[in-house]
């Protein structure tokens, strides 16, 4: 007798097969073994392999990455959180995608090495093709609307050109009237300089380059002079916080704050000091702790059910995620800082607040 299976039966079968395979690999998951064969598989986050590193300026480089399974693509202007091991430690940073969505799936980011920067220096100067990196899905709403604005203005400074480059590469053809005002120290420090100038020469956009070494810093006043019809343009701006703050207040004061879209590369500065306000996110408790009190003690004093063990830094029974702010290792003074979105495990029994901080418990 022929039997036919319904989709529901197939789903059931698939589920059983999955559970069987999971039982064969317990306590690991099948992905842990896949990873041995294909390093781009395995984890909960997608991964990618660096396929090329191209220098852009003396201190900036473009890194091409081929994402593995699970990468859901991006919209030009968005950024990706990238996890890379520097000196053996997994570090996560955000980078704007400078590639338009491409049929071969390869994405690019363009990184400027910050003086003393842990990740940017590593990416620009040390990463080689073949390196496996960790990715989050692309995110951010610094993107062009589907219905393109009749007139657009991009205001960028330094590495702030990156998300705009992604948009221009994707949509320059579909934007009728585009002005780009870009500020950089010198002509040869302009990331994507030749490409932008070429685009301008072909009439794709009006390019206004400002070189701070001769022109000084870009201000809203200078911008209004350079782009007289600014109030009729949808504006996307990305650069140092001071520039963005000044633009925002000028646009707001003029009553067209809704025309301005900004992308910030740096969070508000976290004050690293002695002690601070500790918030225990999940428990809804906030405690003032001085710089000598272990977070474990501070939490317990505030009535938080803190996991703990030896209380002397050896058992790791007290580890909870640091979700924001800074803590100081009481043993050696080393400060660990988490940006919003981070999840850095810290031992609460030997860490004290070094400024306001936020724990995930």
């Amino acid at each position: 007798m022929a039997t036919t299976r319904t989709p529901a039966q197939f789903a059931l079968l698939r589920d059983r097969a999955r559970r069987f395979v999971e039982l064969a690999t317990t306590p690991l998951v099948p992905g842990d073994f896949w990873e041995v064969i294909d390093p781009l598989r395995g984890g909960a986050n997608p991964r990618g392999r660096v396929v090329a590193v191209r220098p852009e300026t003396r201190d900036a480089a473009t890194i091409a990455i081929r994402p593995g399974r699970g990468w859901k693509g991006h919209t030009a202007g968005q950024y990706v959180r990238l996890g890379v091991d520097v000196d053996g430690v997994r570090q996560w940073r955000s980078y704007s995608l400078t590639s338009p969505p491409r049929p071969d799936g390869v994405i690019t980011i363009t990184v400027k090495a910050q003086p003393g920067g842990v990740v940017s220096g590593h990416l620009v100067h040390r990463v080689r093709a073949g390196t496996v990196v960790h990715l989050d899905q692309a995110a951010g709403d610094f993107t062009l609307p589907l219905v393109r604005p009749a007139k657009a203005l991009f205001v960028t400074a330094g590495s702030g050109i990156t998300p705009v480059m992604g948009m221009l590469r994707d949509a320059a053809g579909s934007l009728a009237d585009v002005v780009l005002v870009h500020s950089a120290p010198r002509p040869d420090a302009v990331i994507f300089g030749p490409e932008l100038r070429g685009l301008a020469a072909r009439g794709g956009l009006r390019l206004v380059e400002r070189h701070t070494e001769v022109d000084g810093r870009l201000t809203p006043e200078r911008l209004a002079e350079l782009v007289p019809d600014l109030a009729s343009r949808h504006t996307w701006a990305c650069g140092p916080n001071e520039l963005l703050d000044a633009l925002q207040s000028t646009y707001d004061a003029a009553g067209h704050g809704d025309l301005l879209h900004t992308e910030r590369f740096r969070p508000a500065v976290v004050a690293v000091g002695e002690g601070g306000t500790v918030s225990f996110g999940d428990s809804g408790v906030t405690v003032e702790a001085d710089g000598a009190t272990a977070l474990l003690d501070a939490g317990e004093a505030g009535g938080v059910l803190m996991p703990s063990g030896c209380r002397m830094g050896i058992c790791f029974g007290c580890v909870v995620p640091l979700r924001g702010g800074s803590v100081r290792d009481l043993r050696n003074g080393v400060v660990t800082t988490a940006a919003e979105g981070d999840d850095i495990p810290v031992q609460t029994c030997i860490s004290a607040a070094a400024g306001p901080c936020h724990l995930g418990i």
Partner: protein
């Protein structure tokens, strides 16, 4: 061994409190040196060990699909045994200690790791990391001293049940992973009264362990034999053998850590208000190493450097070997005994103790030891003759 406080010659009597604090500072400095130099090479090391372990496990299990053929059986069983030992020792034990937490890799982290073992990671971390590593060798506090089923110190009270302890020890070795699971559950204590048996926290932990045991057994004794088809019975036998070899090996290595002759034990009251230096000192005197080559070190999960591990339980295991000479030098300078010996010697020494202490003390005591409790704190004003630094077997 008698607790250090009751011995005729207290091995730390020659140390002043300043000596002990200096010792602590030197060890802190050594620790900081390793932490400052942790980096990409260390990360590459643990990833390589994990990868090797997984390749061995996959390879072993693949070969066992044809375990009907004796050569396949032997090769597959050997690979799987080595994989299981690596998984428990160099990987599981050390990852769960937080030795690799600094890499911030959520996959290789003490809070997320689960091991190929009957005891759930959560419970093992509590009994091992918190209790054993904090109260190392303190009578009545560190249950690792005989696991609650044996008497391994003269200071532990003799009971006629101890007569059978050589046998218990053998049975425990054979079923070691279940022994540890039961120990982590504190079964003896928790089954002792109706009230404890009904405690919801205990019941939840028991359920977690049973679930883990079920899944582990299903993997080795049902799923993989089934996958082997006609080789099912021989694959079952291979998996049983691999688990047995892993159990016997880990039991032997772990016995060598704290049971051999020369390891000191401590009075419960001696650790009240213990300083950092005193804690270090207790770890130094309470642990024993195993001497041998690189293969031995990796197969013991570097617990062959038990002394270094107990001083710095959260330093990456691949670095113990490099700090061992410095630690040994400290022992010598402070006139302390660095207990070490070859694997056969240390295993034999631990077994001798298990057999000897199955009988009451007086029966075998060569000389009656006067009970003289003293604090661990080195307050003895007179400097005694420095004990000889033992260098047995190396």
């Amino acid at each position: 061994m008698t607790t250090i406080q009751k011995q005729d010659r207290n091995p730390i009597a020659h140390l002043t409190p300043e000596d002990v604090e200096n010792l602590g500072r030197e060890l802190d400095a050594l620790r900081e040196k390793v932490i400052a130099s942790r980096g990409a090479d260390d990360a590459a090391y643990i990833r390589k060990v994990i990868k090797t372990q997984r390749v061995l496990e996959m390879g072993g299990r693949a070969v066992l699909l044809a375990s009907k053929f004796p050569p396949a059986w032997f090769v597959g069983t050997a690979a799987l045994s080595i994989a299981k030992i690596l998984e428990n020792m160099e990987i599981g034990h050390n990852v769960m200690h937080g030795q690799w937490d600094w890499m911030r890799d959520p996959k290789i982290h003490s809070t997320t790791w689960e091991w190929d073992h009957a005891s759930p990671a959560e419970q093992w971390k509590h009994s091992h990391n918190e209790l054993h590593h904090t109260y190392t060798n303190v009578l009545g506090k560190d249950n690792d001293l005989g696991y609650g089923i044996m008497r391994v110190d003269e200071g532990q009270k003799w009971h006629p049940a101890h007569l059978g302890q050589p046998l218990w020890n053998l049975v425990n070795a054979i079923f070691f992973q279940y022994g540890i699971a039961a120990y982590d559950l504190e079964l003896g204590k928790n089954l002792s009264s109706e009230k404890r048996r009904r405690d919801p926290a205990f019941k939840a932990r028991l359920a977690a362990t049973l679930r883990k045991v079920r899944r582990q057994a299903a993997k080795d004794y049902v799923v993989h034999p089934l996958l082997s088809g006609p080789s099912a019975p021989t694959t079952l036998a291979a998996n049983l053998t691999a688990n047995l070899i892993r159990n016997l090996w880990t039991h032997s290595v772990i016995m060598c850590g704290h049971f051999p002759e020369g390891v000191e034990t401590f009075e419960r009251t001696s650790i009240e208000g213990e300083t950092r230096g005193e804690w270090y000192l207790r770890q130094m005197l309470g642990s024993a190493n195993i001497s041998g080559g690189p293969l031995l070190h990796i197969m013991t999960g570097n617990l062959s450097f038990q002394v270094e591990h107990h001083l710095f339980p959260d330093l990456p295991s691949n670095r113990y070997q490099e700090i061992a000479p410095h630690v040994r030098n400290l022992f010598e300078r402070y006139g302390l005994t660095y207990t070490t010996g070859s694997l056969p010697k240390q295993v034999a020494s631990a077994w001798r103790k298990v057999i000897r202490l199955s009988l009451p003390n007086d029966l075998l005591a060569k000389k009656k030891r006067p009970a003289r409790p003293a604090p661990l704190r080195a307050v003895a004003p007179v400097r005694q003759e420095r004990p000889r630094v033992a260098t047995a077997g190396s």
